[in-house]
Structure formats: structure tokens, C-alpha cells
């Protein structure tokens, strides 16, 4: 593995971290940076927020989010799955739209209700 530079996003300082070819982290000013750096190298995860299509004329798109972060590498695949959805029935905030998206054990949930 080659050395990699990254910016920690755990607090406003934004330490510039470096991970060398042996996986050692440097540049962090605190322990949280260490944890972030390790996970970011091993298996970076991201929250995905997007919309899904609906049949509602007055609300053509419903905003959704993953209930927790999913592997960064699966983001575009997850987007493709979201693009297949069409919401036809009334939906409430928190409803599961897709269960266990891309085998991540994470659900995609609605972030607003539709009240016709």
C-alpha cells in the first residue's frame, strides 16, 4: 500500500493526516483523528442522502437517507437502486424505502412524510 494524505473531518481543525505504507497514521492532533484515519483507510463509509421518484404530482421527489453510513465504494450502486424506486402510496417520515441496501444491513428511510 502506498502512503496516503487525508484531511480528518471529525472536528473543525481538519488535521492533515498521513498514512504511510505500513498503515501508520501521523499528523493527528488527537485520538479521534487516529480512529477516523484508520477507518478511512480500511473501509471508508459515508451517509447517503438523495431523493426517490414518486407518483405524487405535488411532490415528484421524496427525500431519503441511509439510516447509517454505508461503504463509500457502494455509493453509486446504492444510487442505482434508489433510481428504480417509485413511491405510489402514502409514506411517513422514517418509513423504510429499501431494506438492507446493497447488503450493507443499512436501510434507506424517508426523511419526510407525504400528506396528500
Amino acid at each position: 500500500m502506498e502512503g496516503k494524505d487525508l484531511i480528518c473531518i471529525m472536528c473543525p481543525v481538519g488535521c492533515h493526516l498521513n498514512v504511510d505504507k505500513d498503515g501508520q497514521i501521523s499528523g493527528n492532533k488527537c485520538k479521534r483523528g487516529l480512529i477516523y484515519g484508520l477507518e478511512e483507510i480500511k473501509s471508508p463509509k459515508r451517509m447517503l442522502t438523495s431523493t426517490v421518484k414518486t407518483n405524487f404530482i405535488d411532490m415528484p421527489r421524496l427525500p431519503v437517507k441511509t439510516s447509517s453510513p454505508i461503504p463509500k465504494a457502494l455509493i453509486f450502486k446504492a444510487m442505482e437502486k434508489l433510481n428504480d424506486i417509485i413511491i405510489k402510496n402514502n409514506v411517513k417520515i422514517g418509513d423504510i424505502i429499501i431494506e438492507n441496501i446493497c447488503d450493507t444491513h443499512v436501510d434507506v428511510i424517508a426523511t419526510r412524510s407525504y400528506r396528500p
Binding site: I7, G14, P60, P63, M79
Partner: protein
């Protein structure tokens, strides 16, 4: 002729938060909202990052809005949707001219008003970007609305000017929905947005960030075809030979928000040229007695949580004002700032109504690693605070207690780099 105790103009985060804080079962409150739903800009901000302070959880914009809207319904606070406020006039009370399809144009009266009309986005025309004027140049917020609410991409090949959070968020959003974002240009030598957004919105997608660059030319007869950016030096002069051209069909602009205070047109009200909005005291009351101002219409906020906290104050003081039922003599003195500070809220202190704590919010003009904020009155130091990692992109806050004040004289706020 309908008469209210409190009229709140704008049903977004600020208006809803102010209404909830003002509420008691004796007050007749009305929120007037021009869209066909409450929530304001939160409805199109489908991304994460809201609510950490106010609700102690990380929420998306619509979820944050829903928490406030649920409380509005629970408290049975009245609101009018699809209704636009055209004018405000003040005589003994406030005459507010509104219009909607159902009842046409008519006036309502209110003892007190809280203006929570938010901001509008600066456009290409406001900053005079030269070049052709084809279709394809749009503000980032407009593109966000078309994408998240209506479900349309405004282009497939994008360049973004401005690295504030809205520009960064849209870089990611457009990419996720299938567009190619060729880059983000930022006129300052540092990004205006949260570092986490630079990482999650640009680095994650290998979208280049061109700091100290701005758009210098736009080409396209009827449809945008190409934009050119160029680097500027520390004296804001263009550096020869640093032009970079991108073939794109869309230029999104994230070049600043301006408080929407058009409704001040027929009021005699003190304005602050720095904020382009009104002067307020520590209770968020303007120079027009009974008219309060909070949220982005007062000054642009970074976090909606701050909007809620500020608007709760305005709501609370509006309620006190209404119940007092008399206008007292105000003792107003300025809060003066030094050359390091862009603007400060409040701009004046009303010494006849000091309620703990007095919260000062300000932005600096430059970045500092460590500064000492000193507040003096009568040439005496009454408060000092160390702030670290200070940037113009992040609003700074300092509190003073009523007991810190030693007289009814102006305050001076100074910054010193440490």
C-alpha cells in the same frame, strides 16, 4: 379587519422557531408563508448536518423542518400558505398587505411583527461576470431546488463558482445524479465551506478545487459552451497565463446570500451597510418598535441550529413586548467594532431592557489561528475570550452578562491576533 398580536413573515426555520418561542395561549399568532408548504429552504436541503445542537441528533433539512412543523400543529399555531406579503407599514400598529388566490389582496393588522424572510442568492448579474449571456448560468440554490424538489438536472457538464457549502453540496449532489462536475473555483485562497464538505463533496469524487480563481469569461451563443477561470494574487490582480478553460453546459453560482429585506421599503428603519439588513438590539428588535428580525434575513448563518436559537430569542422578546403593551423609552448605544470584524449582531444595546445573557455574533475579515476578543466599555475591559481557528466562513460568538456592563455607554469589540 383582522388584528393579530404577532405576525411572522416567513415560515422557514426562523419563522417556525420564533413562533414556537413566542407562543402562549393568550397570543393570536399568524405565520405567513409564500410557498404551499412550511419549512422554507430546509425542504430542498435534503443533506445531513442539521440539528446537532438544537435536537442533539444529526438530521437532514426536511427532518429538521418536520420537528418544528410538528410542534406548530401541536400548539395549533395559525399559518397561511401560498400567501405573499407585499408591504408593511407602521402607524399605531403594523399594517401588513398580503395576497393569495383565495382572498386576493387585503390588509391585516398586528401589534408586533417578526420578519423571517431569509435570503436570496447573488446572481451573475450582481457580480458582473463578463462574457456572453447564454442559458446555462444559474444559482446553486435554484439548481438544488430543480433537482431535489422537481427531479430535474439542469445540466450534465457542470462547473461551480464559489466553494461555500451550497456550492460544495451541489457538486456532490449533481455528481450522484449523473452529471459530471469539472471543478469548483473559489476566489479566496481558502474554501468558504466546512472542511468536512470539501472532503465529502469534492475529494470523494475527485472534483478539483481551484482556490484563488474566479470566472473571467463565459462563451456560448444561445446555450453555454465554455467558461474560463483565472488565478488572482493576494492583491486581487489577475495573474497572466493562468487561464483555464472548461467546456461545460452549466455554470452554478454559489457567490453569496443577501438578506431579503424588500419589505423595509415603506418603513423608516435603521440599516447596517455591512449586513445589508437592519440594525437590531440584543433583543433582536429593529429601530421600528415592535418589529423584530432574525434568521438569514438579519444576517447569513452557517448552521440552521443558530437560526433556531436566535429566532427563539426574537420570539420570546416579541411576546414580552406584546404583553407589556406600552412603548418605553429606549436607551440605545452602539456596539462598535474594529477593522478586523466584518459585522456584528446586535449592532446596538438597548440598556432599558437588558436580559441575560447578551449574545454577540460576528464574522472576521480574515483567517486567524488564535485571536483574543476584547470588549471594553468606558475604556475598561469588561470581557475577554480566546478564539481559535477563526475564519470568515464561521460565525463567532461571545456572550456577556448584564453584570459585566459597567455603564450605559457604547461597547467596543476588538480583535487581537495572538
Amino acid at each position: 379587519m383582522k388584528r393579530y398580536d404577532l405576525c411572522i413573515i416567513g415560515g422557514g426555520a426562523a419563522g417556525l422557531s420564533a413562533a414556537l418561542a413566542a407562543y402562549d395561549d393568550q397570543l393570536d399568532i399568524i405565520i405567513i408563508e409564500r410557498e404551499n408548504q412550511l419549512g422554507g429552504i430546509l425542504n430542498q436541503c435534503i443533506h445531513n448536518g442539521f440539528g446537532l445542537h438544537v435536537f442533539k441528533e444529526e438530521l437532514t433539512g426536511p427532518e429538521y423542518a418536520q420537528k418544528l412543523i410538528k410542534l406548530i400543529y401541536e400548539k395549533k399555531i395559525n399559518f397561511l400558505l401560498d400567501t405573499t406579503v407585499l408591504d408593511i407599514e407602521k402607524t399605531n400598529d403594523f399594517k401588513i398587505t398580503i395576497s393569495n388566490i383565495k382572498d386576493g389582496e387585503y390588509d391585516i393588522h398586528s401589534k408586533s411583527v417578526i420578519l423571517t424572510t431569509g435570503c436570496y442568492e447573488r446572481t451573475r448579474g450582481h457580480i458582473s461576470i463578463p462574457g456572453d449571456r447564454p442559458k446555462g448560468i444559474m444559482t446553486a440554490g435554484s439548481a438544488q431546488r430543480y433537482l431535489n424538489m422537481d427531479g430535474y438536472l439542469v445540466g450534465k457538464s457542470i462547473f461551480i463558482l464559489g466553494s461555500g457549502d451550497i456550492g460544495l453540496i451541489m457538486a456532490r449532489r449533481m455528481t450522484l445524479e449523473g452529471a459530471k462536475v469539472h471543478g469548483v473555483a473559489e476566489i479566496m485562497p481558502y474554501s468558504n465551506g466546512l472542511t468536512r464538505n470539501v472532503v465529502q463533496c469534492l475529494n470523494d469524487f475527485d472534483i478539483p478545487l481551484y482556490l484563488s480563481h474566479t470566472v473571467v469569461d463565459i462563451k456560448g451563443k444561445t446555450q453555454l459552451e465554455e467558461i474560463t477561470i483565472q488565478e488572482i494574487d493576494e492583491h486581487k490582480n489577475f495573474i497572466h497565463g493562468t487561464q483555464k478553460t472548461f467546456k461545460v453546459d452549466t455554470l452554478l453560482l454559489s457567490v453569496g446570500l443577501i438578506p431579503d429585506v424588500k419589505l423595509f421599503d415603506h418603513l423608516s428603519i435603521d440599516l447596517d451597510i455591512h449586513t445589508k439588513s437592519a440594525v437590531v438590539d440584543q433583543n433582536l428588535e429593529t429601530s421600528v418598535t415592535g418589529l423584530f428580525l432574525c434568521g438569514n434575513a438579519l444576517h447569513v448563518h452557517d448552521l440552521v441550529d443558530d437560526v433556531t436559537i436566535e429566532s427563539q430569542k426574537a420570539g420570546k422578546f416579541a411576546r414580552t413586548f406584546i404583553h407589556q403593551n406600552q412603548s418605553e423609552q429606549k436607551i440605545l448605544k452602539e456596539i462598535l467594532i474594529d477593522e478586523h470584524i466584518q459585522h456584528i449582531i446586535p449592532q446596538v444595546i438597548n440598556f432599558s431592557n437588558v436580559v441575560d445573557p447578551i449574545e454577540l455574533s460576528f464574522r472576521t475579515l480574515k483567517k486567524y489561528e488564535k485571536v483574543n476578543v476584547t470588549i471594553t466599555q468606558n475604556n475598561q475591559l469588561i470581557k475577554t475570550k480566546i478564539l481559535t481557528y477563526v475564519t470568515p466562513a464561521e460565525m463567532q460568538k461571545v456572550s456577556i452578562k448584564a453584570s459585566d456592563l459597567i455603564s450605559k455607554n457604547p461597547l467596543y469589540v476588538n480583535l487581537e491576533e495572538v
